[in-house]
Amino acid sequence: MVACLAGIIIFGMVALMFTSVIMRYMVNSPLTWSDQLSTWMFVWTTYLGMTVAYRQGIHIRVDILTRRLPSRSRLVVECLVDVLVGVFLVVFIYYGQKIAVRALNQVYGSLELPPSVIYSAAPISGAIVFLFLLDNLRHHLGALVSPKARGDAR
């Protein structure tokens, strides 16, 4: 569902950009706000899409070392990575909401809206990834304590 939303925003960006080209050349009245709006939509696609990529486990990483580990030690490493990413997410979410709230009464760019519109992508996407991360961690820990379930944890 998040992926759908991100996809629709991309479509919106294309439509907006195309309209602005048309307006500039054919109607001769360039839109002043469209570039800013589409850039902000772009921020949201990036951060919404990033959560889906995390869920699907397709973020780019180097696994030449961990791939060779026996399954039990690999699970321990996976749990460690989950915890460390979790720590980073907590920082990202906490300070993200802080700057979003602080910027509420500023105005920014040609839209004259507070930058909180984009800053809020930080705590929101961070929280979504955090939920996915807890689920991953539960799987990894579960597989670690009960060897039977190890097969279906990835």
Binding site: A6, G7, I10, V21, T39, T46, A53, V81, Y119, P123
Partner: protein, 428 residues
Amino acid sequence: MTGVVTILALSFFGLLLLGMPLAFVLGLTSLVVFLFQGNIPLDIIPQRMILGSESFALMAVPFFILAGNLMNTGGITKRIVIFANVLMGRLRGGLALADVAASMIFAGVSGSAVADATGVGSVLIPAMKKEGYHADFAAGLTAAASVCGPLIPPSIPMVVYGIIAEVSIGAMFLAGAIPGFMLGFGLMGLAYYYSVKRDYPRYGTSSLRQIWREFLRASLALIMPGIILGGIFSGIFTVTESAAVAVVYSLMLSVFIYKEIHLGDILPILKQSAIDTAVVMFIIAVAALFGWMMAITRLPQLVTQWMFSLHLGALAMLMILNVFLLIVGCFMEAISAMIILIPLLLVPCQALGIDRIHLGAVIVFNLMLGLLTPPVGLCLYITGRIADVSLEEVSKAAFPFLLVGIGVLILITIFPALTVWLPRAWLG
């Protein structure tokens, strides 16, 4: 100061080898360095990360990805391939030559090797296997030809380089053109040699009339490079806008004229493109934070001092850089490697008198060859999967073509004019 650099390196390589996703490695390393320095407000972390993705120029990335996906599902790629077939069919190894030619035409619209390999490969590899070509040859050649995608303009990695190095993206596009054509024609030459040696079939001679008919049939697809590149270089629209125009054009063509995409198919394509985009863009966004962090640790200055202490000339330095990048390219995805390395390389290379445009073309060309080297050769995986051969077999078959690429790389390194002449002549 060296303390900070040690912490930085330990944290970066340690986390990377634990198998943590690269974007989080960059983020966590920055966090660790900030905590070590002690006086940096952590507000910087979300702020730099969000502002790192707030870029008008970078919006070309999702648009080019989306245009490539639409061309492949909408029948545009198929028509380009058929046209290339009738054009090259009369020669020995006609399909192999068509494979390279189609990749080069496709490259004029798409900016990514992955889209090129997927689109051209899924049509031509099965056809080549049926005509008696060896499967590993088909896969290796297609993978190598797809490297033209990000060299012949437009190009996603050139957009990224242009932004990091603060060089005009149009100039970077033009810088990739001559190397891209050199690679394409070089690959054709080698493919022809193999075809004669192994007695691969002709595809069948086609009359001029047939060629004309297929040309007309593919014409709406074939004018796409003209619209996009013409639009950019005549200044009618920006690079980002041209990418949006490419999306709208390929959407119109596949839905209303070729009728190969139904409205219901669009949402899955959009979803996939959003996810592909996010994987690249999230790294770029976190890299903005990472770059800021590196600047305060003064690591780029250290690298500069070290490189000067070697007392090497510009050419020797570029050659060493090439060897280093070829090794990096085996293990790392190109855009990630660029984002981490370019800020470190720009200052010293500029001080040695290396042109930014030349440097960028060499770096991008080099890292694109990484798509052809195991273990992280993305294009080898894609074409190998289509041809149903193992990674080892594709890698071996692609090796002679990789050597062609390395040959071109050496040429463009020695002769800067091959990259900088076109942008200078055109853009002044």
